[in-house]
Chain length 157, copies 2
């Protein structure tokens, strides 16, 4: 439990640090989200490199996605993705009903506007992980009510 | 292993981010080290709060220090402190012969000048943890050769 908390606390500190400086306009906020996403991307790449050292090759995109939903998500957040849907045309929707990095915020809609900064790093993690597995993608996230989170992954390859 | 790597990678990203901006003078570097230390302090406080919820009260300072060397260090770095010495007058020296956050750097003396930025957050972690246990302290670290690290903890209470 405590080492999971270590990541959560450090993640919060990083967000606070990035959001402390500079202006508060939409452009500024966009830049911050991009920074967090880029950091997540690099970390995701590094993690997948270590994590898949002993893993046999993946059969196809669906196989990769199952790995992300089960093994990768469990490694990151100690739980699997709760629901996975796809349109079989390269779009995948991963739903986590109790996303760990939102669990520090109050449940409900009160702090909904703060959600994007808590999601950006993880979007980057997924995009970086996928990139290292040879899948170029766009990863976005949405929250309708805390602490549930949907991650939309759109393949670009 | 992978969740430990998650913390290590995020820690590296944070350092890179903090060191990317601003000047390169000694004052600037000092400020950066302080920032990292302060972040570590807050994370250390949070961790100890969670970690000691179920722990019985500590008998004395030595008891606290044993907890830091064993349980806290293991939670952070998956290993115990290798050596602990004290002058019995409030100074404790904790030695880790293979400090995880230095293991990414090459062994030897080549990158010794970069060591302080990889130690500051952890000094803060220890100081924050101790502070939450009622011990005011000054925590410094020194490296004679990678990846060994000595943490000097001087009680101030």
């Amino acid at each position: 439990m405590a080492d999971e908390a270590l990541f959560q606390f450090l993640h919060s500190e990083l967000i606070q640090y990035i959001y402390k400086s500079g202006g508060s306009g939409e452009t500024e906020n966009g830049k911050r989200v991009t920074k967090l996403e880029t950091m997540g991307f690099r970390v995701g790449q590094g993690l997948i490199e270590r994590f898949t050292k002993e893993t046999p090759r993946f059969k196809d995109e669906l196989d990769i996605m199952k790995f992300i939903c089960k093994d990768f998500w469990t490694c990151l957040f100690k739980k699997q993705i709760d629901n996975l849907r796809t349109n079989h045309q390269g779009i995948y929707v991963l739903q986590d009903n109790s996303f760990r990095l939102l669990s520090q915020l109050s449940a409900g809609k009160q702090y909904l506007e703060h959600a994007p900064k808590y999601l950006a790093f993880t979007c980057g993690l997924v995009r970086g992980g996928l990139s290292d597995l040879g899948v170029k993608s766009v990863v976005t996230a949405e929250v309708a009510g805390m602490p549930a989170c949907k991650t939309l992954w759109q393949g670009c390859s």
